[in-house]
């Protein structure tokens, strides 16, 4: 949908919309993302346990990216009428495992008898100190991302062409960068998770911070347009470079510094929307 989607969201005037989550009541961060069959996944791509876990993880990624600790979760789950108790148990296992791994409590939600498996999740977290926003990037800041990008797109392409992906593919189970984000939080000027792809997230920082970018080397689309990576994209003042590199080293988190923030006030995302 792409444009219509943006059209719809932009109808809403809230000052809260624009970051990975919304800050309320001073120190709470709230996120809500859906995970829908035939939109975000096909049923034969993931086990039910993996579907439930990933539906939670993509929301937790938003909480971490805002410098938040997840506390409470609400799960609305629309379940195909023909599901067996065994299948419900698998779903439950995924949610339960996620709630343990990410240390939040499931406090409510809704269960709906539906034609397909659609999940909508809200997570409420506590902000550790200051929230990380998209709006703080300043001219002269450096820009970096964690980990390796491109694998998610490659694996999505495999799935779309009927091939299999590995058990440990990040498409199955996103790898989140909690410790790294929490440690660099005091030293960065803006940040967000890479859910729609590097180029798309750059355009979010550009819009929110009213800046542009000078990328040191051209980045291929295979990397820049790879969505659902859940790596962390961030900007920081040059003076913090050593500190950030040393945090990356100490946590074994690869940090790729790839450009500089400029005053161009514009950035155009060259990718097509990646949902099928």
């Amino acid at each position: 949908m792409g444009n219509l989607e943006n059209y719809f969201i932009n109808l809403f005037p809230s000052k809260h919309i624009g970051d990975d989550g919304a800050i309320i009541e001073k120190n709470l961060v709230v996120v809500q993302d859906g995970f829908f069959e035939n939109v975000h996944f096909l049923r034969n791509w993931l086990s039910l346990d993996e579907v439930a876990y990933k539906a939670v993880a993509v929301n937790i990624s938003d909480i971490y990216s805002m410098n938040g600790i997840p506390k409470y979760g609400l799960i609305t789950i629309a379940i195909p009428k023909e599901f067996s108790k065994q299948e419900l148990k698998l779903l439950y296992q995924g949610f339960s495992r996620a709630s343990k791994d990410f240390q939040f409590e499931i406090i409510g939600g809704d269960t709906i008898s539906n034609s397909k498996l659609d999940i909508s999740i809200t997570i409420i977290g506590k902000v550790r100190g200051k929230p990380i926003l998209r709006s703080g990037a300043k001219q002269g800041d450096l820009i970096a991302y964690t980990g390796t990008l491109g694998n998610s797109k490659r694996d999505l392409e495999k799935l779309l062409s009927g091939r299999k992906i590995g058990r440990n593919s990040i498409f199955r189970k996103p790898k989140l960068n909690r410790d790294f984000i929490f440690k660099v939080a005091p030293y960065i000027s803006s940040g967000l998770d890479i859910s729609d792809g590097l180029f798309s997230e750059l355009s979010h920082i550009a819009n929110s911070s009213r800046v542009g970018f000078h990328l040191w080397k051209p980045i291929p689309k295979q990397i820049g347009c790879s969505g659902e990576e859940y790596q962390f994209l961030f900007t920081f003042p040059k003076r913090n470079r050593k500190r950030i590199e040393s945090i990356g080293k100490s946590l074994n988190t690869k940090v790729t510094i790839f450009g500089e923030v400029t005053n161009r006030k514009r950035y155009i995302n060259p990718c097509k929307p990646h949902h099928f």
Copy 2:
């Protein structure tokens, strides 16, 4: 689905689950309910503006029933791919009107390109004083509901048989009892909104309060099994009867006192699940 639905929800251990909403951080109340096409409504039953408004209203009803004031809303909306800008505008109008009428701010959510129109909403509210729970009913308390029950079932049956319903049907636009609930809150022992039907909600009070009921007169299924009424069901100590009746009178809210709480610890809901 009925039983499987309960089976799934009961897998979760949280102490928060069981009331209309969950209380967190001392004075916040959080609710999440879905409003799905072909589950809660058919597209030709309601205008898009009405769909959006009702999706919000059923959540607000839960907030009021917990003695809460809505503050923030998150909307995940799955939109059919073929929707036009005009159709999106109508949806937006419904959400926007609801946000004005119920005085909360839309702070986030998600937009998904889907095969049908499915909405999942989270509302976060502030509790006014003490929350209203399902667990406070005591033996000897009286039990009452607001308004008139049965119209929603009648209108649903009309729709299911291809007939039309009136413009002001509560099936189109629930009538919520905010002022009444807020005024009686200090004088009642338990309460919740009638979303699944009177009998179903009685069983919720019975389970949470570990009580039973003596109904003064038999209540026909046409009334007791009528869901989506969004009237308020509550129990209160006998000594508060006059006060509650006078609040009802002052607000022009019909109050039907229909039975007494007993120590039977059991109540069986005789209705079939009402979703089609």
